[in-house]
Amino acid sequence: MARNRPPFRVERPLSMAVQELHMRDRWPSFTRVGNAGVSVWRGNLQPSEVSGEYGISVEYRLGVPPNVRVLRPKLLKTPPHTYPGAKLCLYSPDDWRWDEHSILACSIIPWTAAWLLFYELWLDTGKWLAPEAPHNENKRVA
């Protein structure tokens, strides 16, 4: 007797292996250490032709919003849109939520590269020249 199938297909979360495939495809400098539950990618990003390279780490626990840090060089002053420990605040939870189907390579990493560009402009002008949402807008923490 055939088993009853559920009325809808449950999509499985994107595995670390699939995240890694996307990362390798789009961000070749990033390498991964970790396992199927938690992984850390480290690599370099250079946001403009005259910029230096920034060492970046992306720590991802399956299904949980990833943490992105600038490893080197040390960030100067206290830039906007960061948490302590040089962790970057890349999106407002009002606009977008990380879920287990989100792809690091298509969201988090390009936002990080753009963050670095706006950080360099901020260092020189004192102005954050990209869209931003303040923390106190909704009292929530990403």
Partner: protein, 363 residues
């Protein structure tokens, strides 16, 4: 705090780019002369007839595009000096005499055609623009070594200009589009400080290639730091020769063939170059170390002149406006571009609002 002033350097490189009018001139005039020579019965060229070389072909022109070099291919055997170099240069100069009429100019006031050591120079007086037409024997087409005539040596000299163009492209790709910027800054530094006794552009390119390939320049650093390292590297490298009193000048290795390209560098010119390097590395080192941004800007202005901007607010705004999340793309190395890069697998930067922290730097 170290001030790399990265957006200032972005604006500086924009400031020293040739104007669009000059670039258009550099596109159109050489093509007209190339077409004229390809159809000329008096001076027979061989398919594929001609190729652009030099700073323009290398995408390393700074300031005004004053001249464009291009090769015209002729038949011959350099080993037996056939045809003789003097014959080729004389015949080319003669063939180009009818060029003004072909291009619709009348009278001599608009044109000057001069035979040089290795080329025939066509000067468009009104446009203040030169074309250096270099005949060559290219046994395996332009992609390989070629031979160019040298009037003084009375023989054909091996050269590999298209190889240099390719090498520059490779280095620029390897270092995430930073190599060409570094060389442009070096050329602009020379132009800003040396009116006479200038080292040739090709020598500067060869110096920069050698420095970067020696791994003595950390190309992962911002271009400001890489430039400072370049000046220090060259000063240290040539310092021993500088101290000598026997009139020696350093060798500058051709990037492709290894021979000394600066065989005719005069000692007084070399010494002038070393003095400029010494000044430049002093200013750049102090600028990188200075805690005060305004003072750092002044020191960089000593290096690069008034083209180094004092205020970049407008540039920053327009740069940012063209690279907003939602319209920008990121290359695989993280370069943020205003649109998709056809040659690269670029990733769109999805719309976002950077969260929390401070608005416009205010906590």
């Amino acid at each position: 705090m170290v001030h790399f002033l990265t957006p200032h350097f972005g604006k500086l490189i924009q400031n020293i780019q040739p104007s669009s009018e000059r670039l258009e001139l550099a596109e159109t005039l050489p093509q007209q002369v190339r077409d004229y020579l390809a159809g000329n019965d008096e001076f027979v060229t061989r398919s594929p007839h001609s190729r652009l070389v030099g700073s323009y072909a290398q995408h390393l022109t700074v300031g005004d595009v004053k001249d464009v070099d291009f090769l015209v291919r002729v038949d011959g055997d350099p080993e037996v000096n056939e045809p003789t170099v003097r014959t080729v240069l004389s015949e080319l100069a003669s063939a180009l005499r009818d060029l003004p009429e072909h291009l619709g100019y009348s009278g001599d006031t608009y044109f000057d055609i001069t035979r040089n050591r290795r080329s025939v120079q066509v000067k468009f007086e009104y446009e203040d623009f030169y074309l250096d037409v270099v005949p060559c024997i290219a046994p395996n087409n332009f992609g390989d070594s070629i031979f160019v005539p040298d009037w003084g040596f009375k023989k054909w000299i091996e050269s590999h200009p298209r190889g240099v163009v390719r090498l520059i492209e490779e280095l620029d790709d390897k270092y995430n589009k930073k190599f060409r910027g570094l060389v442009k800054l070096f050329k602009h530094f020379r132009n800003n400080h040396m009116t006479y006794m200038k080292p040739k552009s090709y020598w500067l390119v060869a110096m920069a290639i050698e420095a970067v390939e020696s791994n003595d320049i950390d190309m992962s650093e911002p271009v400001a730091a890489a430039f400072d390292q370049l000046l220090n590297h060259l000063y240290d490298k040539y310092h021993r020769t500088y101290l000598r009193t026997d009139g020696t000048v350093p060798r500058i290795k051709d990037p492709m063939l290894g021979h000394n390209v600066a065989w005719n560098w005069e000692r007084s010119h070399f010494e002038a170059f070393m003095r400029r390097l010494e000044d430049g590395k002093g200013w750049s080192g102090r600028a990188l170390d200075h805690y005060d941004k305004a003072e750092a800007i002044k020191l960089w202005q000593n290096v690069f002149g008034e083209e180094f901007p004092t205020n970049i607010d407008d540039h920053a705004k327009s740069h940012a406006a063209s690279r907003q999340p939602g319209s920008a793309y990121a290359t695989p190395t993280g370069l943020i571009l205003p649109g998709a890069a056809p040659a690269l697998k670029s990733t769109p930067v999805q719309p976002t609002r950077y969260y929390g922290g401070s608005l416009n730097g205010k906590k």
